[in-house]
Every structure is written in C-alpha cells, then in structure tokens.
C-alpha cells in the first residue's frame, strides 16, 4: 500500500494541520492564562446548567494544562511532526546529496547584473583564478566542460538541511521529558519547625508521601535590607538516614540542595503557630528556676508535688502585653491565674489591682512567685520537595533545539555556480547562486564575489 493512499497518513502529513494545531494550542494557552487555574472545580460549576457543567468538567477548564484536550492537541502535534518529518526527509536527503551538475535549469538566464565581460584572456589562468577564489570562500570546488563553456560549482552548509529535523526531534524529546516528569516524578511541600525532623511531605492532590530518609531543620534565618525588603532566606538542613546525619547543608533561594535524587527548595517560611513562654519562678527551698513551655505543656514544681500547666499563651491580652495563664494543681487546691510579662508597670499603673483581682497575681500560689521573662517565637521553613527524572531529558531537548536553530539560520546551505563562456570577442564570467533560506544574503555575497573578481582581474 502506498503511503499516499492512506488517508490517515496524508491527514497527518499536512503542514496545514500543523498550523491549525499550533493556533488551537495558542488559543488554549490564552484561555488558560486568563481563567484561574488549579481552582476548585465546584466553584466554577456553580450557576452553570447541568449540561454546561458536564462539558466544563470534561474539558477540565480549571486545569487546562492537564486537560485531555491539551494532551490530545500535543499528541496530534507529535504525530504530525513525526510524519511531516518522515515525508520530507527523502527530499532533504536528495538536497543533501545533490550533485553540482547539471546546474539548475535556467540559473544563468536572469543574471545580467552578475556578469562580467572582459577582453579575451588566457582561459587557463582565468580558470585557476576563479577556482582558487571559490575554494577560499566556499570550500570544495568542482568544474565541468559544457557546450556553453566551463562551469564551476561550489557550496557550503550542506548539513543545514538536517537542522530542521534536529529541532523537530528536540521538541519531541522535550514533550517526552515533560511526560516522564509528570509520570515518574512528584512535587511536594513540607513545613519544618526549627529543631524538628520529618520524613513525610505533602503532595497536592495526592496526600502524604513518605521519604526514605528524614530531614531536620537545624536553623532558619531571614535577613532584611534597610528598606524592609527581604535579603536572605536560609535553612540549615540535616539529612538523616537510619538515625545518623548523612549530609548537612545550607538551603537558600536559587541554591537548592539535592539528596538522593530529591531536590529541596526554599519556598516559604513563617512563624510557628504556637508561641513558647520562658517562665521563671522562685519560692520554697528552690533557687530561681527557669522553664520553656508552649500552651498545654505542664511541669512539676520542684520542692513541691504541685503540677503547673500552661493554659494559654497570649502575645497581648487586654492591652497589657504578653501573658500566660497557668493552672497549678496541688493536692490541696487548684489555682488559676495570669502571669504578665510587664507586671511591674501594670502594678504601678493600677495600685491595689492584685488584691482586687487575685487572677492577676503571679504569687497566688504561695510561696511561689512566677514571672514571664519573654515569649519565644519559632520559625518554620517551607520547603518545596521535587523529584523529576524528566529534567535531564528536557535539558537535552533544549540543547538540541538551540543547536538545530543555529544550523538552520546561521549555517544556511548556499550553492554557487560560475560560468566561463568564451565567445569570439571576449570572455564572459557569470555568477549565480541558490539557497532555500535568505536569498538576499546570498545575493549580497555574490555581489561581493563579483567585485572582488573584477579587482583581481584588473590587477
């Protein structure tokens, strides 16, 4: 069966199809860039009729870049690219193999501006002059005696005809790399508090993913410029395998860390939701003691069997500054009271307050006296965690594409023919050239050649 007879083959071998597919992809991209993507499908569908909603959900308007429609267009474009390339390859191969002779029909007909007529000269010396000249400009020169005189042929950039196949292959490689990444890779996020360790990350839409190792955030630092703009975000991370620290490194924006094929990126940060309180207390037979607690934590008072629990940690309560609410459970009785950081100022401003409102008295549980030194806020670092086995494939595609484009546009195939025609009165030199790209540039080159020859002949 001939390829031309197959309707499917001829459908996919049409350049018109390529153009139509590219235009459809452009339209899809425009739509996707204006419609919110990755949104909740239910929000979109509200207010639509059931039929419209069904179409909407089928086309995945809220996630067009992963919609069946986009995959269909990409698939068709890939097939179209492959078939067009196969169909044209024979033609390009012929071009690549094209023999210098016979020269293209009629090539010397329309070239009066490129002719030089000179008085009869020794054909041999003229031939060697032209040959040397073409060799310098174009490389390999061939010549042939015809009934119209001697014709020289030279050319360069024969390989340029394959540039387009390099570019088309690179596109297919990049599509394959993208596909490999979405099939075998993952993109996840995880927040880790300073000092804490985790081995699970969250993949949007897929849930929790356990890693083969654990990550600890040893420290998170954020620095600011004088104008308040952020200067540095930095997480010091330890990677722990089988209970031992295997690798440590500093993670900064633009400087990801890679550990066992998984890359970590600094993507956000924040303050940990629960603030810690630094409490001190005196009393009993004890010297001053200090504890660090978050809301809900408790400890046993030394020298007493009473338990102290932190009920609340407030950064600013009743406009009186930071405070914690404690419950002391002793065998005799339970007490609940607030401990303000700025208790001295509060006492000064409201004399007699502590006796009126026992809840505000930090010495309510005698003989102990509590004080709040400060509240401590901890940072958490937000990491983006990625495994993408397709990256190297896409990078290879990118390199090939640039190489291909350079071959097409900067090493174009140029072929020239020079005819040396002897008549009774004089000798006529005619130059003509062919290229499939940028004829104007080749024409300029031929004009240069002609001027140069003229100068040489005069000399």
């Amino acid at each position: 069966m001939s390829k031309k007879a197959n309707p499917l083959w001829s459908f996919f071998s049409s350049v018109k199809l390529t153009i139509i597919l590219l235009i459809l992809i452009v339209i899809l991209f425009i739509a996707a860039s204006f419609l919110p993507q990755y949104g909740d499908a239910r929000q979109y569908v509200q207010g639509l009729s059931p039929a419209a909603a069904a179409v909407f959900l089928f086309l995945r308007i809220n996630d067009l870049y992963h919609s069946p429609l986009f995959y269909l267009l990409l698939g068709m474009l890939s097939v179209n690219l492959i078939i067009c390339s196969i169909n044209r390859f024979y033609f390009s191969w012929q071009q690549f193999q094209a023999l210098p002779f016979p020269e293209p029909a009629g090539i010397f007909d329309n070239s009066s501006p490129n002719s030089i007529a000179i008085a009869n000269q020794d054909i041999k010396s003229l031939s060697s002059l032209i040959e040397a000249f073409l060799e310098k400009k174009f490389g390999c020169v061939k010549n042939k005696n015809t009934e119209n005189g001697i014709i020289f042929s030279a050319g360069r950039g024969r390989f340029s005809v394959f540039g387009v196949y390099i570019v088309h292959t690179s596109i297919l490689i990049m599509i394959a790399g993208g596909l490999a990444g979405s099939l075998f890779g993952f993109k996840a996020d995880v927040n880790i508090r300073e000092g804490e360790t985790t081995d699970t990350v969250y993949i949007a839409g897929r849930g929790m993913q356990k890693l083969e190792f654990a990550v600890r955030c040893d420290k998170f630092t954020v620095e600011f410029y004088d104008n308040g703009a952020p200067k540095t975000y930095r997480s010091d991370l330890s990677f722990i395998r089988e209970g031992k620290v295997d690798y440590q490194g500093a993670l900064l924006v633009n400087h990801p860390l890679t550990y066992s094929d998984i890359r970590f990126y600094q993507s956000s940060y924040g303050l940990a939701p629960d603030t810690k309180a630094v409490l001190t207390y005196t009393g009993g037979r004890e010297k001053k003691a200090s504890v660090v607690l978050a809301g809900g934590d408790s400890f046993v008072l030394r020298g007493n069997n009473a338990t102290v629990q932190v009920l609340r940690v407030e950064e600013d309560i009743m406009s009186m500054g930071p405070a914690v609410k404690l419950r002391v459970s002793s065998p005799r009785k339970n007490y609940e009271f607030w401990v303000f950081q700025h208790i001295e100022e509060i006492k000064k401003a409201n004399p007699g307050l502590l006796s009126q409102v026992p809840m505000f008295n930090p010495g309510l549980f005698q003989p102990y006296l509590f004080s709040l030194e400060r509240l401590e806020q901890e940072y958490f670092t937000g990491l983006h965690v990625v495994r993408d086995p397709g990256t190297a494939i896409v990078a290879l595609g990118g390199i090939l594409m640039v190489i291909g484009l350079f071959i097409i546009y900067y090493l174009p195939q140029q072929r020239v023919w020079v005819r040396l025609e002897s008549t009774a009165q004089n000798t006529v030199i005619t130059i003509a050239g062919r290229t499939r790209r940028n004829q104007a540039a080749l024409d300029r080159r031929i004009t240069e050649l002609q001027l140069h020859l003229k100068e040489n002949l005069r000399a």
């Binding site: 425009i30 993208g178 410029y225 633009n254 940028n438």
Partner: protein, 282 residues
C-alpha cells in the same frame, strides 16, 4: 553627571535621530540619513555609558547588581537593545530606510520611562528570588529577542502602509514611493523575526534553567511563561508558513503585528494576571 540626566539627553538624541530619518525619507537625500545614523550611534553610546554608571551607582550603594532588575531598568534596556539591533542591521544591509519606523519606538519607550507616574527609577536591592547568575543572561536574551521583534513590527507596519497605498493607486510618485521597497521590507521582517526567534528560544531556556534552580520546576505554567510560549508559537507559525506554505508579503506583515502584540502582552500585560513573575511590577 548622573545617569538619569544622561538618559533624558538620550531621549532627545533618539528623537532628533528619528526626525532626521524622517527628513531622509521625505527629502530623499542620503545626507539626512547619515546624520540620523550619527545621532542614533551617539545616543546608543551615551545610553551605554548611563547603564554602566547606574550599574556602578548600585555598587556604591552597597547593593550592587546589573541594571536589569525592575520595570524601569528593563524598559531602558529594551530601548537600548532596539537601537543596537537596528544599527547592526542597518550596517549589515547598507540601507537606512527602516530607521524611520524603528528609532521612534526606542524614543517612545525612553519618553515613557520618564513621564509614566507609576514607574520607580530608584536603585533597589535584590530580593532573594532575583539573586541569581541567570538573571543577566535571561533578561539580555529575552530583550534582544523583543528588540528584533520590534524591528520586524516596524517593518511590518511600513509594509502594510505602503502596500495599502500602492494597491489603490498606480501613482508611484510622492510620499509613499520614498518608503523602502516592499521586497526589502519583507526580507527585513523575515530576518528580524528569525533572529528574534532564536533569541527568544534561548531566553525561554535560560529562564527555564533559572526557574529550575529558584522555584524547583523548569516550567510552572505561570502566565509569563505561558505568554512567552504563545509568542514563540506565533513566530514559529510565521517562519513555517513562509517556508513551507509559501506565504509572502502582506500576510507575513500581519503576523509580525500579531506577534508584536503578543510580545507586549508577555512583557507588560501579564503583570495584571496573578503569577510568579509579578515582583517585576514593584
């Protein structure tokens, strides 16, 4: 002299150059063309000096970085790239005809940077996302691409103008006969678009490498990424229809206008869509 002062002088130098290119076209004397060219080269030299001064000034402030980091700096570089790219083409093809449609674009961009109220020309420190070695390569290649597409756009506009008039009347004398020849314009459109295409390809790739290091993904379908791909596809269509389907002249000129609209949207329009590149607005 401060670099901002030099840049306002450059604006007038480009305007003068444009006026002389206009004289050349109307009066048909190459004298004006040479004068226009001298002004354009001088403007380019002055602007280069201003860019270097601004670069140095950022180091004096202790926050040294290449002057390509916000909208103001990118507009200045865009104007620089347009004139640079145009002058190279003028020198290569030995024809000054297209200057009249390209140089005014550079002038308008320069003028816009000084009169637009919401453009901040202060030198500001780099936020962490921009602290990368890829910044310079990415911005330079993208704007060289944009500049080449601007030249294609200018020539496309002239092509349509001349074609429209020439098509209606056989009168070949007068103003429009002095416009560059249609086949020269077409060749310029194609050459500039092809060069811009190579630059924008490298620009997208360097951006992609940078995104790989900064955001953890070489492609995130951020509106700016999507629109750069739309621009790339439009010019890919243009190069294909000419080479494979044999489209010429007017159709090619129209695509060069569509492509330029897409360039403008990629550059400025996407700032109004939510995405990762929005810090450029500040």
């Amino acid at each position: 002299m401060s670099h901002t002062m030099i840049l306002s002088i450059v604006t007038f130098v480009y305007f003068t150059s444009f006026v002389f290119y206009l004289f050349r076209m109307i009066l048909g004397r190459e004298f004006w063309g040479r004068l226009a060219m001298i002004f354009a080269w001088s403007g380019l030299a002055l602007q280069t000096a201003a860019l270097i001064l601004r670069w140095k000034a950022s180091y004096d402030l202790g926050i040294g970085h290449v002057p390509l980091t916000n909208l103001y700096e990118s507009l200045i570089f865009f104007a620089w790239a347009i004139v640079f790219f145009y002058l190279i083409i003028e020198w290569r093809i030995g024809n000054r005809a297209a200057g009249v449609c390209v140089v005014p674009v550079a002038f308008l961009i320069m003028a816009y940077t000084s009169i637009a109220p919401d453009i901040n020309n202060r030198i500001e420190p780099l936020i962490p996302a921009l602290q990368s070695n890829w910044l310079t390569t990415h911005v330079v290649t993208c704007f060289m691409g944009y500049a080449a597409f601007t030249v294609a756009f200018g020539c496309g506009l002239l092509y349509l103008l001349k074609n429209q008039i020439a098509g209606k009347s056989e009168n070949t004398t007068g103003f429009f006969s002095r416009l560059p020849a249609l086949n020269l314009l077409e060749s310029l459109i194609y050459q500039s678009a092809a060069l811009g295409f190579v630059f924008i390809t490298i620009g997208i790739m360097t951006g992609s490498i940078w995104a790989h290091y900064a955001w953890g993904s070489y492609w995130s379908w951020d509106p700016k990424e999507t629109w750069s791909l739309i621009t790339w596809l439009i010019y890919a269509i243009m190069l294909h229809v000419r080479y494979v389907a044999g489209w010429h002249g007017q159709r090619l000129a129209i695509i060069s206008l569509v492509g330029f609209a897409s360039v403008l949207f990629t550059y400025l329009g996407v700032n109004y869509l939510p995405g990762l590149h929005t810090y450029i607005q500040s």
